[in-house]
């Protein structure tokens, strides 16, 4: 199989001393940000991004993705030991993880969490290895109308399937797309929305916005809350690890189910949170002993962790194959790709083989190394929580500022970051989701370009989006998803109307 050969090549790209060191550094930094209060996957990656600016793209992406894996692992530590979910998708892990820690089974719970994260990610990476090249080569036939239809599908599914109120998602998305258009228009050379500020000519950089929205705003939000915490210290012995692993086959079905759910939901945008809850609920429903869930059952840790990590990893599949990130963190990684001059999308598989397969290989290796690191160093990381927030907060602020400045060497960007920090704080409190904004800002100019190219090609005829079966079905699907809540309501109603009729007959 071709994939195996290319993957093997990826491993040879990867197995240099320098890359391995970067990998370990990335993982440790990632676990660190995952454990710290108020930081998590997207924030951690955004803040640490500038560290990678001077590296070559392969080293940089390896380090960044390792930060991401590390943050995912780190989130489990605080959920189980302190009952503090670092991210929305670790909420389900606390249901049974924290009770287990209270029963003195913290080590078992942690081992279960790390092992299932590993299994979930591995399943998703396997999926990426075998599916992504196929999708990418299929997508090579896409023209501007097809690409626009795919972008439309992404945005519509956010609006239609998201759990936030629709108008909030629309505001967030429209604002992102608008801000992406600020500056010099690439097609005509006209200046747009700059209001004669010379600083705005460069446009609003995606990463500056992300650092403000996720980094600065998260510190403001964290300060609002009570920072006191009480939890368990734990260390994992080899004996516990082996005991948990020996029992793994008994939970094979749970693990499999959660992996499938995670992979499926990960490919659709914003799925990790839904995946973790769905994994947990399904494990509970299929269990013979439903009552014991929530009281410290190991299955209650396996199910959500596997699903969350499978989905977090599967989110990278559409990013690699189509250039469409499946999650906020994937969007930030995508922003990173563009900083290194790589154009995400199907061509990546043709033009930058080393890079893509190096990245995929690093997903395998990063997860293995990550598993070993977390299993051996849990006590150290749990102790980080003793460091007072008053020492951590200013350091995060400085790191954010360094990151924002480094992107374009502009002092203006530091101010912009501060503005986005306030905007992020207000948006989060008002309930306007940030993920659609992030996605729109990173995809904005490509969405607009593909729309305009399609329009120019078709001489302004909107029917171009239904001109062949492929683009037609994607566009139609997008519109169906956009109105999904309404369609769903109509269907339920129709079913309700049919039922009495059937009863009468």
């Amino acid at each position: 199989m071709e994939a195996f050969g290319l993957l093997f090549h990826g491993f040879t790209v990867l197995l240099t001393g320098k890359t391995l060191v970067l990998m370990v550094v990335g993982l440790v930094l990632g676990i660190f940000v995952g454990v710290l209060p108020g930081l998590g996957g997207p924030n951690g990656v955004a803040i640490l991004l500038p560290l990678t600016f001077t590296m070559d793209p392969t080293s940089a992406i390896v380090m960044l993705s390792c930060i991401y894996w590390g943050a995912l692992f780190g989130g489990a530590i605080t959920s189980i030991l302190f009952n503090i979910p670092g991210e929305a998708w670790s909420v389900a892990t606390t249901f049974d993880g924290y009770p287990m820690a209270q029963n003195g089974q913290a080590a078992e719970a942690l081992t279960a969490a790390f092992t299932s994260s590993f299994i979930g990610s591995l399943t998703a990476v396997l999926l990426i290895t075998f599916l992504a090249p196929g999708i990418a080569s299929f997508a090579l036939r896409f023209g501007p109308p097809e690409f626009f239809a795919v972008y439309l599908l992404t945005f519509c599914s956010f609006v239609g399937l998201g759990r936030e109120e629709k108008h909030k998602t629309i505001i967030s998305m429209a604002l992102g797309l608008l801000l992406a258009g600020v500056g010099m228009d690439t097609v005509s050379g006209t200046l747009r929305m700059t209001f004669e500020f010379s600083e705005l000519l460069r446009g609003i950089n995606f990463l500056v916005a992300v650092i403000g929205l996720f980094g600065i705003s998260e510190i403001l939000l964290t300060m609002e809350e009570r920072l006191a915490l009480r939890g368990h210290a734990a260390s994992i012995s080899l004996r516990v690890v082996l005991r948990v692993w020996r029992d793994l086959p008994r939970y094979a079905m749970t693990l499999f189910r959660s992996s499938v759910i995670g992979c499926w939901l990960g490919i659709t945008p914003g799925g990790a949170i839904a995946a973790s809850f769905m994994g947990y609920n399904l494990a509970k429903r299929f269990s013979k002993d439903k009552e014991s869930f929530g009281k410290g059952r190991i299955e209650g840790v396996f199910a959500p962790e596997t699903a969350a990590h499978a989905s977090g990893t599967a989110a990278l599949l559409p990013m690699l194959a189509l250039g469409i990130p499946g999650s906020g963190t994937a969007a930030i990684l995508l922003g990173g790709l563009m900083v290194w001059g790589l154009n995400p999308g199907p061509l990546l598989f043709v033009e930058h083989k080393d890079f893509v397969w190096g990245l995929i290989a690093s997903m395998y290796l990063g997860n293995v190394v990550g598993l070993v690191i977390v299993l051996t160093t849990v006590p150290v990381f749990a102790a980080i929580l003793r460091v007072p927030f008053a020492a951590i907060a200013p350091m995060i602020v400085v790191s954010c500022a360094i990151g924002a400045f480094a992107i374009q060497n502009a002092m203006f960007d530091i101010w912009l970051m501060l503005v986005f920090g306030v905007v992020g704080y207000v948006f989060k409190k008002v309930g306007i989701p940030l993920a659609p904004f992030t996605l729109a800002l990173v995809l904005g100019s490509r969405t607009e370009d593909s729309f305009r190219l399609a329009m120019i090609g078709a001489e302004g005829d909107l029917r171009v989006f239904w001109s062949n079966w492929l683009v037609g079905s994607i566009t139609t699907l997008a519109i169906v998803l956009l109105f999904w809540p309404a369609i769903g309501a109509v269907l339920t109603r129709a079913r309700g109307l049919l039922r009495p009729a059937r009863g009468a007959a």
């Binding site: 258009g181 007072p388 360094i402």
Partner: protein, 180 residues
Amino acid sequence: MATPDHEIVVEDPDAPDSASPTLAGARSVNIVVYLLLFGLSVLLGYDNWRTGMGWAPEGPQPGYFPFYLSVMMGAASLYGLGAALWSSTLSGEAFVTHDQFRRVMQVFVPTLLFCLLTQWLGLYVASFLLIAGFMSIIGRIALWKSLLTAAVFSIGMFVVFDVAFDVIMPKGPLEAFFGY
């Protein structure tokens, strides 16, 4: 220590009081946010209309795509404004309490000062002042610990970025004195 070994306890004596009075209600903040968003969409919409939101012979004019986005955003903000005005759940809710706001300002004001200082003193000196000041004044951590942490962090950052990785940061008089 009274705490047993297997427990990690971190206290937060300055934690915002849950009984602290409301500084801003959720409803009024919602209304202001939607008004601002609506204003922004009108402003951006006007600019794009000016640039040209119609069709040129060779395709859509530069303002076409963003103009309709402004319209969408404007409509969604108006909907949000209406929803906030007629909402019954938002009216009693607090957006931020006095105590919470005080804590948020404790980070925001130093961050603002840090950004200002970065312009005059360079990033590293500003970061030293921010960390040392924040730790000792707001965190009430011993002065020597604060100064030491701030110095180690700032010098560490300087070595990592300016020396090792060649990422150039804004610098001020102190760095100039040492010849950087």
